[in-house]
Amino acid sequence: MTLAAGVRLLRRHLRPQRQALWRLAGWSALEAAPTFVSGLLIAGALDRGFLAGRPLVGLGWLAALALLQLIGAVGTRQIYPWLAATVEPLRDSLLTAVVTASLQRALKDEKAASGSSVSQASEQVEAVRALYSTLLRTMRQLLSGGVAALGGLTVLSPLLALVVASFVFLAVILFAGILCIMVGRFRTVVLRAEEISATAAPVVEGMRDVVAHAAEARAAREVGEAIQAQAEALRAFARARVLRLPVVTLGVHLPMLALLAMSPWLIARHNLTVGQIVGCVVYLASGLQPAFQVVVNAGGTLLVSLGVILGRLAEVCACAESPAPAAHPPALCPTGHDLDVDGVTFAYSPHAEPIVADLTLHIPAGMHLAVVGPSGVGKSTLANLLARLATPQRGQLRLGGLALEQVDEGYLRRTVALIPQEAYVFAGSIRDNLAYLQPRATSAEIDEAVVAVGLAETLSRLGGDDAEVPPGGGALSPGERQLIALARVYLSAAQIVILDEATCHLDPVAEARAEQAFADRHGTLVVIAHRMSSAMRADRILVMDGADAVLGSHHDLLANNRLYADLVGYWDRTHGEPHADHRLTTPRPLS
């Protein structure tokens, strides 16, 4: 049950704050002192003072009450630092958990978390902070006031206290039951609100497509359904709130009526004075009643909102918890950097056509390999397999003779670097971005990397490597971001570099320069080519055609592989010389 999960989450994050909570409780007790004695002092003021014709005595009693209220105010004042000490660390630890969980989920399933769900999670942490602090502030003041009032009532008249307490007890039980229903309904409200976002976002972001295909009516209908669903959920929640009616009657009104109904009998048999009756009424009216009503009205909504939001956060944090690592043989570091692909088959799911079928490939250390093929054939998937970001269904991948699954994680990540098409540039200085994989890089090494990949011009335009990149990348073009990512990997200690169309936003000149830089650098280079010019620069080329693959040099493939010749042939054909007949009869001279 998500409410239980949410409560567990809260308890886990509050555990370090135990001491603060105890102090809070202590000062709350002091704060509640005036409520505890208010009825008694008022009863005394009336009986001994005003009703006995001695107003000054009455004033004295009231002065004592005022003094106690001053002490109570001191208690209130002292509570705040402890409130802060409870709430602020809670927010810190929740935010950390949410950030970590959000990224862990994205690591597992890259399409999972969208922008809106990220900001929703952050807003929910803020909501927890606000709700929790309101809860603590209001509830503790009023709850302790309620408990203190009951205590004072017991001193005045134990019998009355018993009667009132039983009513209150019944009301609390009833409330607890209603709370479960309200939590469920409110949860639906929150979920439906998220669905509106989820339905409207693709429409709003893809407005051009919706308009161009005259699909406005359909889009409006789909979003409209989500809107209506949320409105209905709000109404259902409102109906659930009506259930608070009997709770209030039971816990607030019936005790008061019972007290008044019993008072003649109490005055006659138990020697209760009018002043004491007034004192009891004061306890009920100023102590118990406000406490109860706040708990039921605001507290109901507060507790409900808090419960639901905590439940959602618990879901977010739970999904991301990685399963217990399976029993593996100890992680080893291989010798050598030869990559071996041995009979590897990979498909997205058991029913789908395999992307890669029974592929066998040997990539010795230092080779410059280009992977070409039609769009969607599986080049990126191969890159993922080589970097152990995906696991094949059959076959094995080996690094330096050792199976990839057995290689130490840290060693693997340091040795094999994959640069995807979407370059990751984060908020910070450019130097931070460049030294991301090699924190101990010297300025000389950084400059060398910058010059090698061709980032020097951009860097001087931006003002050197101390220039700050704002969140979101700022004024950097996609090509410049790719250059930063390239320089970063160039600088790192990676022995095997995989470029997954990592130069697609660069013009052909810049692309050639960057690829040459990596080819000249030590280690293996695997280039998933987008332009055929990348293939022509490589030692060996892997041509992927559907699930088949052929490895060879440019010359060999041109002569023997129809697809490669087509790719190269077509390529050459587009550059200013359309041929009537695209079949090549003569091998073309190589550059």
Binding site: Y80, S119, M207, E216, L257, L418, I419, P508, Y570
Partner: protein, 602 residues
């Protein structure tokens, strides 16, 4: 003072007055929705106010009756009735406001969504996606809270006034004492509102910084995965956290100041009234029950102290409603024709006459004339930023020209019914939007009634069938679980355009992510399917231009030439449009080499 503070706090920089005017209008229209419910709410609230004000005196009467042992049952019944009506009124208030609120919010959201769709692409420039979404989800809910808040604020005010009046009625001295004591409370509260805003704004900024960093990391998730640097990235994202903590503590410090002073004020006031009342009681002016009532009235009267927060909340609602009103008040740039004309049958013959489009003070298209013969394929060629996409947007009225007109089969497109026009002209884009739930749904988004066979046929033309079959659930794979490369996505967009079976098909850079081989296959398949239809292709590559029947060379806002590619190829400035590729080729040494038996173009 307050409004500008709130607006700064909300981060908008629209002039306050205009926003509030728009907000007031939206609020008025919302009030008009289910007027009966609003009136009922008012009535119920009024009843609640009356019974709330009556409660302390009923209580007092019951106490007196208990003390004097006279007519207690009568007093108790009266008290019970007052209690019951108050509770029922409160519950009904809540229920009615929720029902009304949900209705108004839904109505406003429907209108907002509809408006956004009518505003279309020009509207997107004014209201970007994220902004529009926040208006839809958050701001549209503002009017729903406005009226219930307003009514309850009035109720609280009336209750307080009623309580003070009742207090005075019990004994005028009590009323005066109370009023004298209440002034400091108001002063304290005003101080809170002005002081708290500073650290609160800083807090919001820091929180936004953390969220933006998190979003950046999400965009670069593949790199983080490949580098195994998760902990370091989490540390970097949470860098502003200590300062956030510190600012949070400052907010608490301010709240502490106000809170303990306020906590003292209420009870001390009650003691004060109690003291004065006690004297009056001793002198026989009032009864014990009336004294209790007086103390309760003090509590009720102090209820107005929270009205300040309500005022701030009301203003926030007004601003929120204003943000919705902004969108609703925007006139659409593309208005449907007053008297729609049906389009004539026949292939699509597109003509642009003296068309000018200006964007940001720059003439993108300048008195452009272009006549595309029907049933031909025309490639639009030009350097980047010359307005190729703008030109193609005019054909299907995704954009309207500032001057001149666009004609389809000799009928101005502005006179055609919009939905009909969009069925005749279809587009495929460089980055198609992922609309629909599944892959099948995306292709058939505009034609939900299309059968699986039709969709598969369209996908086959776009060379997408193969990779779709390799997805986990084939055509029924939900889009969220179908990871796709740029090339695959483009092919889905092409399939969607093919399925539309239109007379004019516009390919706006729609094959740019495809490698050359796939592009040729797509072009060949399209040629078969589009026989006799007009095809407009935005071309960046010489091969694409070559394949078209005619090339429209767009230069400096006009059509410089309209001729086949090989005819234009002799012009060096034309070759320069495709220029970069040539330079690379020369550097790589694979320049145009003569192949024996095939003549180079002259």
């Amino acid at each position: 003072m307050k409004v500008s503070q709130i607006l700064r706090f909300l981060g908008t920089d629209v002039p306050a007055a205009a926003l509030r005017v728009a907000g007031t209008r939206v609020l008025q229209q919302s009030a008009g929705q289910a007027r009966g419910m609003v009136v009922l709410l008012g009535v119920v609230t009024l009843v609640g106010v009356i019974t709330t004000v009556l409660t302390p005196s009923a209580l007092g009467a019951a106490i007196d009756a208990a003390g004097n042992r006279e007519d207690l049952s009568h007093a108790l019944v009266w008290l019970a009735a007052v209690f019951a009506v108050t509770t029922a009124a409160t519950a009904l208030e809540d229920l009615i406001s929720s029902y009304w609120g949900s209705q108004v919010t839904a109505w406003l959201r429907h209108r907002l969504m509809g408006r956004a769709l009518v505003l279309g692409i020009p509207g997107q420039r004014r209201f970007p996606a994220g902004d529009l979404l926040s208006r839809l989800t958050e701001n549209a809910a503002s009017p729903a809270s406005f009226f219930p808040l307003l009514i309850s604020a009035c109720a609280t005010l009336l209750t307080s006034i009623g309580a003070v009046v009742a207090l005075i009625l019990i004994d005028f001295r009590l009323g005066i004492i109370f009023l004298i004591g209440a002034v400091p409370a108001v002063v304290v509260l005003r101080r809170f509102v002005t002081q708290a805003s500073q650290p609160f704004l800083r807090y919001q900024q820091l929180l936004a910084a953390i969220i933006t960093r998190l979003l950046d990391a999400h965009r670069g998730i593949r790199t983080i995965r490949a580098s195994g640097t998760l902990e370091r990235d989490v540390g970097r994202i949470l860098l502003p956290l200590p300062e956030l903590h510190h600012t949070g503590r400052q907010v608490w410090a301010v709240q502490r100041q106000v809170s303990w002073q306020l906590s003292l004020l209420g009870p001390l006031l009650q003691v004060l009234v109690l003291s004065v009342g006690g004297f009056v009681l001793a002198a026989g002016g009032i009864t014990a029950g009336q004294l209790v009532a007086a103390v309760s009235y003090v509590g009720l009267a102090l209820g107005s102290v929270g009205l300040f927060d309500t005022l701030v909340a009301l203003l926030t609602c007004q601003v929120g409603a204003g943000r919705v009103g902004e969108v609703l008040d925007t006139t659409p740039a593309i208005s449907p024709p007053v008297r729609p004309v049906t389009v004539s049958p026949g292939p699509g013959q597109v003509e642009l006459r003296d068309v000018s489009v200006r964007m940001e003070q720059r003439a993108v298209l300048d008195h452009l004339d272009l006549s595309m013969p029907s049933g031909t394929s025309v490639a639009i060629v030009g350097g980047s930023g010359t307005g190729k996409t703008v030109l193609t947007s005019l054909i299907g009225r995704l954009l309207d020209p500032d001057e001149g007109e666009v004609l389809l089969n000799r009928v101005p497109v502005a006179q055609l019914e919009l939905a009909a026009l969009r069925r005749i002209v279809t587009y495929a884009f460089e980055r198609p939007a992922l609309l629909g739930a599944t892959v099948h749904d995306m292709i058939a988004y505009a034609r939900p009634e299309a059968s699986r066979a039709d969709v598969v046929a369209a996908a086959a033309v776009a060379q997408a069938d193969r990779f779709i079959r390799s997805l986990p659930e084939g055509y029924d794979t939900p889009l969220v679980r179908a990871p796709m490369s740029g090339g695959e996505l483009q092919r889905l967009g092409l399939a969607r355009a093919v399925l539309a079976d239109a007379r004019v098909i516009v390919l706006d850079d729609a094959t740019s992510s495809l490698d050359t081989a796939t592009e040729v296959k797509v072009a060949e398949a399209l040629e078969r399917v589009l026989a006799g239809r007009t095809c407009v292709v935005v071309a960046h590559r010489a091969a694409t231009a070559d394949r078209a029947d005619l090339v429209a060379w767009l230069d400096a806002g006009r059509i410089r030439a309209l001729a086949p590619h090989h005819v234009l190829w002799s012009d060096p400035s034309y070759r320069a449009v495709f220029g970069t590729d040539e330079k690379t080729m020369a550097r790589n040494g694979d320049g145009p080499t003569a192949v024996p038996g095939v003549a180079a173009p002259s």
